[in-house]
Every structure is written in C-alpha cells, then in structure tokens.
Symmetry: C2
Subunit: 460 residues, 2 copies
Amino acid sequence: MAKIHGFNIAIGFLLISVVINFFLVYNHFAYRVANQELSWSKEAALEAEAVASISCSGHGKAYIDGVPFEGVPVCECNSCYGGKDCSQVLPDCPADADSGDPLFLEPFWVQHAASSAVVVAGWHRMSYRFSSNDKSSITVELEKCIRELHAVIGNAKTDGRYMVFGAGSTQLLNAAIYALSPEDSPSPASVVASIPFYPVYKLETEFYNSVQFKWQGEASLWKNRSDTSGTSIEFVTSPNNPDGKFRKPVLTGPSAKTIYDHAYYWPHFSAITSAADEDLMIFTLSKLTGHAGSRLGWALVKDEKVYTRMQMFMSLNTLAQSHDTQLRTLKLLKVVLKERGRKMFEFSYKTMRERWERISKSFSSSKRFSLQKLEPQYCTYFKNVTGPSPAYAWIKCEREEDEECTAVLQTANIIGRGGIVFCGDTRYVRLSLIKRQDDFELLLQRIDAMISKESGAAYM
Amino acid sequence: MAKIHGFNIAIGFLLISVVINFFLVYNHFAYRVANQELSWSKEAALEAEAVASISCSGHGKAYIDGVPFEGVPVCECNSCYGGKDCSQVLPDCPADADSGDPLFLEPFWVQHAASSAVVVAGWHRMSYRFSSNDKSSITVELEKCIRELHAVIGNAKTDGRYMVFGAGSTQLLNAAIYALSPEDSPSPASVVASIPFYPVYKLETEFYNSVQFKWQGEASLWKNRSDTSGTSIEFVTSPNNPDGKFRKPVLTGPSAKTIYDHAYYWPHFSAITSAADEDLMIFTLSKLTGHAGSRLGWALVKDEKVYTRMQMFMSLNTLAQSHDTQLRTLKLLKVVLKERGRKMFEFSYKTMRERWERISKSFSSSKRFSLQKLEPQYCTYFKNVTGPSPAYAWIKCEREEDEECTAVLQTANIIGRGGIVFCGDTRYVRLSLIKRQDDFELLLQRIDAMISKESGAAYM
C-alpha cells in the first residue's frame, strides 16, 4: 500500500518535473525570440554600452574614441572637474562662459538613448552619391524631415525653396557670399552687418580676399556713405547673436541682398512669432539639437541661380556633406519630431528659461552691471506668451571706469566674450548660457559672489 | 513486484527529468551570460541588421536612411540593375566608367561587418571640441592611427609633421592654396599643374577669384614664359590621376611651392617605392578604404606657419570635421591596421590587379585603342615586384579620324571622362576601374564587343 502510495507520488513528481521541462524549453525559446539574436552589430553595440556605462559622477563622459588608459576607455571630465571619475572639483577654476557650445541639450539625448542611437555599417553609403540614378548628395529622407520640422515648429516657410546642406552654418555663410556677389561686376559686392554681430561674417569675408566681394563693416554707416553703389550683401542674424534681439535688414532696394542667419530661431531661444519667409535663410543643427560636433547646417533658397551657385561652391569646397553625419542627423530629427517636437522643445525651453530667470535675478540686484532687456512674446509654437530664454546674456558694465568689461569679469574669475569681438563696445560682454549645467552653476555662483561684493562695497 | 518495478522506472524518469531541468536552467543562464544583454543600443542594432538582411540579389543594397516604400526600406539597385530585388538587368544601359567612385572596396567591408560597424550614441561628442581642456578639433586616437598606418605601409613619413583634417582631399587642396600664397604680395601666386591633371585644381583656384592667387595652367609652359616671377604653387599628383604615373614637380627653387596630392599612393593602386617625404602631402580616406561619402582627408605639413594658415582656413570654412565621421573612420582604420594591413591590401590589390590584367588583355588585340604603359615595380610594402594596378585606364584613340575619343566610346555605349576634362587631348579618355564589380564586368563586356567589331571590320 505504501509502495503504491510512493509510486503515485513519484508519478506526480515526474509529471510536475516534465511540465517544468516543457516550461523551461518554451521559456528559453520564447526568450530567444523576444531577445532577437544580433549578429554583426553586436560587437559594436556591446562596446558602445560598455563605454557608456563607465561612471563619471555626472561630471564627465567616456567615449569610444577617447584616449584609453592602459587599453581601457576613461572619463573625460567636464570643465572644472577632475580625477579618475570626475568627482573632484578643481579649485579656482574659471567659469568659462566664452563659447556657444550648445551642451545644455546633452541630458535630453542621454534620456532618449534608445531612440537616438544609430548603427553605421562598415559598407554604409560609401559612394560619393546617394543614388546611382540621380546625382544627389543629400539624403532625401533628411531633407523631408527638415521641411516637416519647419512646418511643425512654424519658424520658416520651406515651400518653393531649394535646400543646400553645409558643414554647419559656417560653410553655408561662405557659400552664400559667393553665390550673391556678381561674378563679372567691375566693383566687388559690399558685405555688411549691424553691430554687434557674429564675428565670423567679417573674418571669413576678409579671409577669402576675393575680387568679388569686400567687407565694409557696419551696415548703417555704410548706408550713409556717399560712395556706395553696386551690390550689397547684408548679414542679418535674427534672433541676434550676441543680444537675442530680432533684427531686420538696414539695407533695402533691388541691389541689396540679405543672408538671414536664423541659427537661434528655435523655441528654446526665442518665441516663434511668425514663419520666416525670406529669400535666403540659414539654419544649423548645432543650435537645434545641440550637435555642434556633427557640423550640419542647411540653407533654404528661393532663387534657382543662387541655389545653383551655392551648390557649385559646395562641390568645389568639400564636394558634399558626410553621409555618416546625414544618417545620424536623420535619426536625431526623427526623435525631435516625435509628439510634434513637444518632448525636446519643452525640455530645452524649460532649461533655457530657468537659466535666464536665475541670471536675471542675480543681476537685478546689481547697479554695476546690466543685462539686455527682452520682452515676453506670443509663441505660435507653444501657443502661449513665453518669457525670454536667450542663448546669451549680453552684459553691460555701467560704471564709467569699467571700460573693459571682460577685465572686470576676469577679476571675478569669469571668462566672457568681449563686445569688441562682435565689433562692438568694450563695455559689453557676452556670457554663454547654453553650455552644460555644471558650467552654468559655476557661472552663477561667480556672478553672485561678484555682485555680493559690489553691494558690500557700496555699503562700506 | 510489477509495481515495484514500475516505481523504480518512475523514479528513474523523475531523476532524468530533474537532471534535464537543471541542465535547462543552467543552459538558459549560460546563454544569457554569453549573449550579454543590450539595452539602449539594441533597437538601433536590430534596425540596422533588419535593413542589411534585405536581399537585393547581390546587385544593390538597402540602407536605413533610404526612401522607404509603404514604410519599409527597399533595395537601391546598382547601375544597370532594377526591379524590387535588383535582379533585373536593364537593357541597353550604358557602361558608366566616368566617376572615380571607389566602390571596389565595398565587398571587403561587407565581409568585415562585425569589426567595422560602429554605434553612435545620441550624446556622442556633441561639443564643438574634443576636450574641454585643449582646443583640438581632431580625435587624438584617429591621428595616432593614421600615423601608424603610414608607418606600416611605408608610403609617407609623418615624423615632425603636423596633421590637418579636411572634408576629403577637396577641402585640403583649397586650404593649401590659401596657406601657400603670400598674403601681402603685390602680385598673386601662380597656380599650375602638368597636363593631364585632376580638373578640380583649376576649377577651385578660379572659383575663389582671390587676390592672392591666380590659375596659370600648364606648369612647363608657365616655366618657359619670360614674365614669371613671385611665388608659384604647383599641384603634383603622384601617382597621377588620370594616368597612374609617378610625377615630380616641374618648378623648383625657393619661391616654388608644391602641393603633393598622394590620394592614389596606396598599395592597391601603385607599388610603394619609398616613403614620401615632402613638405605638404595630402591623402584621403576615399581612395584608401573606399569611403568617399564620409568626406575625410588629411594633410601632413612640415612648416608650422603653413599648418597654422591651413587650420585658419578650416576654422573659417567649416570650423571642424564631423565628429561622427571621425569616429567611424577610427573604427575603419583599426580594421585596416589588423595584421599590418594585409587583409585589406591583399584584397584590394588583388581586385585592382585582376581588373588591370583583364582590361589590358582586352585592349591588347586592338589597334584602334591603346592603353597607358605601366611597368612592374618593387613594392616595399608587399616586399615583392608587383604588376601595375592603376585606378584608371587612360585610353588613346589611335586612328587619325578618331579625334573625339569619348564620342567613339559612346557609340559602343561606354561613358568615359574625356581628356579635355583633364586639360589634355581629346584623343584620350579616362575609364574608371574602381567602381563596383558589376560596373567593371559591364565595361569589359562593352569593350570586348567594341574591339571584336574593330577586328571584324579589319578583316572585311
């Protein structure tokens, strides 16, 4: 009887065990199906994830193309941080607010790692061209994506306009000057801009030393000169770098050509007041997604002849834009376009708005320094009145003796970009608000310390 | 008794089943450990592999940034192939041997898919610069890799030379002209080259229309003119495009500057006879690994002033080279460097050598056409005498009436690049031998048909 009982128990266990057998086999295959097998891309994916998982205390990053230490990738620390894991704060490190490096967007891309990563196969688009049929050197899908983005954000009209890709806006500015200046005119085209302006306009115009165009400086001064004739080319940056103000051209008329640099016309830096509708408009990925290192920009061009000449410049200058960059940009813009741009622009506007509010508050108690005045405006994208959130603070030193404003800030261990760089007054300094959060916090700390001394001195 | 026997069997099965369970559990975990979990990179990896697995009959490829059809990526067919899976041969399609698109290397990268793939994270190197400490805009590791490659191949000395990155050799040629022409000279520098030469030299020199330099055409003609003075800048392409011959400068002396374009000085196109040791040498990824679409080149520059001026050109022209491209190039060159370059250069030399032998054989029976003569030479890299394997066939039409050689080839449905494009004789045509195998096979087929008619006509 006991044997029979034992037999039944054994059969029971056997059945359970066999059921477990089936379950485990099923589970294993279900797992393998769910976790699809990767083949050739796996090595690269593992490498990228291993490097990304290196902890740098939130104050640095390791990169797969970094300089390894004893064969192992290491942390590259943010400014003013050091040590193996970037946990050490470097003492007396200057608050460097010089460069317009748009790293405030970095955390957004870390948060959206899965959707923004891209695998580049070894054989990806090796050809000079995108297709053996047409001779195009730009990705059709990327062009479509950019047009869609402008439509969604409402910052520029793209209908009836050609698109030219360039290495950032930098190369497109070059191409535009060449394309707009007459080839066979006896006198060169006059290139101008309104002070304060982005210094590259002047530097590159002068550097090429071309027979076709000549740098003539301040637009309004040039307008009032008596000896002006022939074609003029005016750079109009709107919103303006450094001061964030909307700009209109000073020169008008049939021989006045305008290059609109709309690098900063995105919802994080400015209210979108209407869709820009000019003949030649330039945008750049750097100030849209923060990928300055990718060097991609685009021009929207109405006139076919100007477009053709810009293309000619591109083909003789660099032939085309990197296919690797075009691939990555496509992936990034697809992420931006999700939910009609809400996710990215809400993050980016919130970040920039907070920074502006905090720096405004800091300077509000100062009599020695003043900040540019910017008004809230209705933003057609956010469908709301939005407060200012510019890329740069444009500081003025108000005291008579503070003629060299950069020097004044330097005594507080702050590095700004002097007004003179923008062909403006040395009483002004540009402070970049678009770098990493670490940089902004240090900057604000130094500003607060500087201003607190000022009032201290006033009370003494 | 039977029950006891049954009981023992049941226990036996139970034990087996339990052992199987342990095995399955162990196996599952061992599998998971071996197939490490991927997180954020997985989506991109799966996407890349799915697109790569689309079959295009060996006559095309699908790309992740291609134009999808109904949301699904589709094949992009090689020239002269069509249909959904590129299996249809397009009738009467011209054999297009015009472009120097270096796709003969594509199969190598397909074979080395795992080691050459790269995952670009969304936050990868967003900054303008590579490091917050130095102001470098080039990857230290990539520069190291390129120097190592030159040392391994023995085609150029890199010691005591600066390195400048450019968008292919195209941008570097521009930068070099600017850097070598005196800024404050009363007369412009004279830019020359020996016919036949790469047409971009002339086109870009003229396009910039600069006060600093002027295109003066054929080097030897210019040398013999009486009115020559001041700085000269000579482009020397060695091996030469189009004819594959080694070249030396025509102009010498203290004010004669030379830009050495060594795009084709790699073991697949030429014997490496000695390490080039010139003041300004330019190389490009396009003709090394075949990644023309990535637009990366480098210059090796001895003189610090010239280097600084080239850097200045770069920073005003495009600011820097794409970080995405630099990352990918690093990965590719690491593959090239494996086994001291053996794998890639044996594949690439074998491919080019076979093509040259086959096209030479085809033309050997022709009296109407002749091919340039190239001699076997000792290659220090392969440590052997190697037969010619040039990038281009430089065909001459020998009959008196065949003055327009491109037109003659066109009647045989072959597209070549006419000698006139290289500022040379219309009796010459360049045929590209570096495109895909499909292109080469069609070209050879057309050449054979053309030559067979020629002898047929002779016997008539």
